[in-house]
């Protein structure tokens, strides 16, 4: 529901945006391609497909996706019906398709969904190898989520991811004495303290917010070297690193605007647009909605987007929401379904989609870093490397049912919320999170 609201705020300028960005798509930069032959998979006679994917967030996401699909139909004669499901409804609908063996042939689902239904999906290894060879290789996160855990077998094709770097007001940071976002935690805290002193508090969601709450809290955990479980899936959240992250979160919380414990996905966008907060974390969508609304264009002008302070060894530690496409074994036209996905990932289709969405779904294949979208507005550059992140929901353990459940139950978010607000001590908060995580990883 929050998603729809946020989309509502976007709608104001979405038309204008579609016009400008599609214009940019016209002057496409050359995507460097390698030499590769697509796997031979003749499309079955009389094939038709049903595709399910999450609903659009920027208008171009739906229009260009539909245009590309229409192109596929024109070239192959395969009729394709695309359904758009609400973000929260997508997971249950995928589950129904998997369990009943009916419904959509192709589901563009969320990152961990294919891992839950791994044995019900068609193998994608050949296809992934072809796309990887042609487009400069798969980036780190798509590799993680495309392959079955611990194997080289691909079960899905990641299509794009949306990250959450730091979004801040340039002039207010300057006023506090900073030209850019510090790369270390100590500096970041000092920046927020200085801005708060000038009446520009920070605002990060600590409520049950699917996107923003997980983004902030996972950053806290990972960038301090913490993890929910270890490589073997053993619960490892109760560590000195986590305690340190919780202590840091508590100090940072003092620089927040009141009310962040109740924030959903939409609150930081509203507060930022109204000039109530000076620093937050968000996907690229907020910048676009600000930029395309004449009333907030000045705020967009003053908006900078940079990496949050990095984790150990300078690694980026931001949470990414990944689109992960899978084909169910129950499809009657496996070749048509795979060909459809290949078609959508080829540059003639993929680049206009990437560009049209303004980089909202950042590319999973390295070659698309050359896309014109990343140079069309220098501020977008930070979103270009979204999918190079080496952390994932459920880090550092296997991706599967348990990691998905821990995220859906907001275990990490609530741990940080409890410690930040002082409702529990860091030690109590981490013990409670440990108990809840154990329940899922038994």
């Amino acid at each position: 529901m929050d998603r729809i609201t946020r989309r509502g705020t976007l709608a104001l300028g979405a038309g204008a945006m579609a016009a400008t960005t599609i214009g940019a798509g016209g002057a496409r930069a050359a995507i460097p391609v390698g030499n590769a032959t697509p796997p031979r998979q003749p499309i079955e006679n009389g094939a038709t497909l049903r595709v399910l994917r999450p609903t659009k967030f920027v208008d171009a996401d739906e229009t260009i996706f539909r245009e590309n699909t229409a192109k596929f139909t024109a070239q192959t004669g395969v009729q394709v019906r695309v359904d758009f499901a609400g973000w929260e409804d997508l997971r249950p609908q995928t589950a129904v398709a998997a369990n009943t063996g009916a419904g959509p042939d192709v589901v563009v689902g969320w990152a961990d969904d294919p891992h839950i239904y791994a044995d019900k999906l068609l193998d994608m290894t050949e296809m992934a190898a072809y796309l990887g060879q042609k487009y400069g290789g798969w980036l780190a996160l798509p590799q993680r989520f495309g392959k079955k855990w611990g194997t080289e077998q691909w079960i899905s094709l990641p299509m794009g991811g949306t990250g959450a770097p730091c979004v801040y007001r340039i002039s207010w940071a300057k006023e506090a004495g900073y030209d850019s976002i510090p790369t270390d935690h100590e500096g970041f805290l000092k920046l927020c303290q200085a801005m708060k002193k000038n009446g520009h508090p920070a605002g990060f969601a600590l409520g049950n917010a699917v996107g923003d709450g997980n983004a902030y809290c996972n950053w806290l955990l990972w960038s301090h070297g913490g993890m929910v479980v270890d490589e073997a899936g053993k619960v490892a959240i109760n560590s000195p690193q986590t305690i340190q992250a919780l202590r840091y979160a508590k100090e940072l919380y003092q620089t927040f605007i009141p009310g962040t414990l109740s924030w959903g996905d939409v609150n930081n966008n509203r507060a930022y647009a109204a000039g109530e907060i000076g620093v937050t974390q968000n996907g690229v969508s907020m910048y676009f909605s600000l930029k395309n609304d004449p009333r907030t264009a000045a705020v967009a002008e003053d908006t900078g987007m940079m990496r949050m302070p990095t984790g150990p060894a300078g690694k980026m530690a931001e949470n990414v929401l990944l689109l992960n496409a899978m084909v169910f074994k129950h499809t009657r036209y496996p070749n048509a379904a795979k060909e459809y996905l290949r078609f959508m990932m080829e540059q003639e289709q993929y680049d206009p989609w990437l560009t049209g969405c303004g980089g909202y779904w950042s590319h999973p294949l390295a070659a698309y870093a050359q896309s014109a979208v990343w140079t069309s507005d220098p501020k977008l550059a930070v979103y270009r490397d979204t999918n190079t992140v080496e952390f994932w929901s459920g880090y550092k353990g296997p991706i599967g049912v348990a990691s998905g459940s821990v995220a859906a139950d907001y275990v990490v978010v609530q741990m940080f919320a409890a410690a930040s607000s002082g409702q529990s001590t860091p030690e109590e908060a981490v013990r409670e999170a440990e108990r809840r995580t154990r329940r899922y990883y038994r």
């Binding site: 529901m1 929260e88 997971r91 249950p92 589950a95 998997a98 369990n99 839950i116 239904y117 600590l206 409520g207 049950n208 605007i257 009141p258 009310g259 962040t260 414990l261 109740s262 924030w263 959903g264 609150n267 509203r270 507060a271 109204a274 109530e276 049912v401 998905g404 459940s405 859906a408 139950d409 609530q414 919320a417 409890a418 607000s421 409702q423 409670e432 108990r435 809840r436 329940r439 899922y440």
Partner: protein, 320 residues
């Protein structure tokens, strides 16, 4: 005129032996069974089966996307040590009790006022129903804005217009503020149902009783306690039962406004069951939470029926 037709026409219809189907339909027991079949079928398919399935799921470790096996009381055992679950039980009871008491107090008061002779009676009654008619999610979104940490109109009036406070109220960010805010929203939504139902009850009370009481010199308080209250008791118990059930199983208000936050302090059992079951994928545990609601609901229903509809009490007598 009629002489010509006096000759009796022999009427000897052949009695056809009834077919097997006709004989079957003449059988009363079978007919009863047949006529009940659609109703029983609907109840079985839409009530008994889902309820039975829910109870079965509560004893398995089913996840979304993969079946489960019978695990006995494992889910309940784990809930027993789960602070979040007990928090939800506490808040559900608190929410139901406080909201019901307030709804009944205010609703009864409103019904009594509306029962007086006021101008534009029917118009006012129609307006009173508004909060109940508006879809819950819409009113929830309205309250969500009113309780927003940054853009609340209540805070705006108190801070910027009247200057009574220096800071905005953090309605949904601190546990007790959030709990009371939700109770307030629920009471606002629930009053019309109670008021209109009780008003209907009030209008069945014969005015002659009040006249007789007036002649005997009864005060208005005595008229209320000796006439209105006892005669209203039957409908009151029915309305109370419904109201308790609705409040106890409330979902939309809480899910739309707080999603159970801050830090799980406003989870109702219904919202927690949904969160664990559907987005969290743990269908078995979600079902176990939902099943845990059944004893409370049965108790509430029994209480309403047996405690409040006792005849003696209704007729103004004392308990034995």
């Amino acid at each position: 005129m009629s002489e010509t037709t006096t000759a009796a026409v022999p009427w000897n219809p052949k009695r056809s032996t009834p077919g097997a189907l006709a004989r079957l339909l003449d059988n009363k027991a079978f007919l009863v069974f047949l006529c009940l079949l659609p109703a029983v079928g609907l109840l079985m398919v839409f009530l008994t089966y889902p309820l039975g399935l829910g109870i079965w799921l509560a004893f398995t470790d089913t996840h979304i996307g993969r079946g489960g096996v019978f695990v006995g009381f494992e889910n309940f055992e784990s809930l027993w040590y789960d602070q979040v679950f007990w928090g939800a039980v506490f808040y559900t009871l608190f929410y139901t009790t406080v909201a019901t008491v307030l709804k009944f107090g205010l609703g009864l008061w409103l019904a009594l006022l509306l029962n007086e002779n006021v101008p534009f009676k029917s118009l006012i009654r129609a307006i009173i129903l508004m909060p109940w008619i508006v879809p819950t999610v819409l009113s929830a979104i309205a309250f969500w804005w009113m309780f927003d940490a940054q853009f609340s109109i209540i805070s705006y009036v108190l801070v910027d217009v009247l200057g009574w406070r220096d800071t905005y109220i953090d309605f949904l960010g601190t546990p007790w503020h959030a709990r009371w805010s939700l109770v307030f929203a629920n009471v606002w939504r629930g009053i019309p149902f109670v008021a209109i139902s009780l008003l209907a009850g009030l209008q069945t009370i014969s005015p002659s009783l009040y006249e007789a009481a007036l002649l005997d010199g009864a005060s208005s308080w005595q008229r209320f306690t000796k006439i209105t209250a006892p005669l209203l008791m039957p409908i009151l118990s029915v309305v109370l039962t419904f109201s308790v059930l609705f409040t106890f199983t409330d979902f939309q208000l809480v899910y739309a406004i707080t999603r159970g936050g801050p830090i799980n302090s406003t989870h109702l059992m219904a919202t927690l069951a949904f969160q664990r079951g559907i987005p969290g994928g743990q269908l078995g545990e979600g079902a176990a939470i939902a099943v845990s609601m059944i004893p409370f609901l049965v108790l509430a229903t029994l209480f309403s029926y047996f405690a409040l509809s006792r005849r003696k009490w209704q007729q103004g007598g004392n308990d034995e």
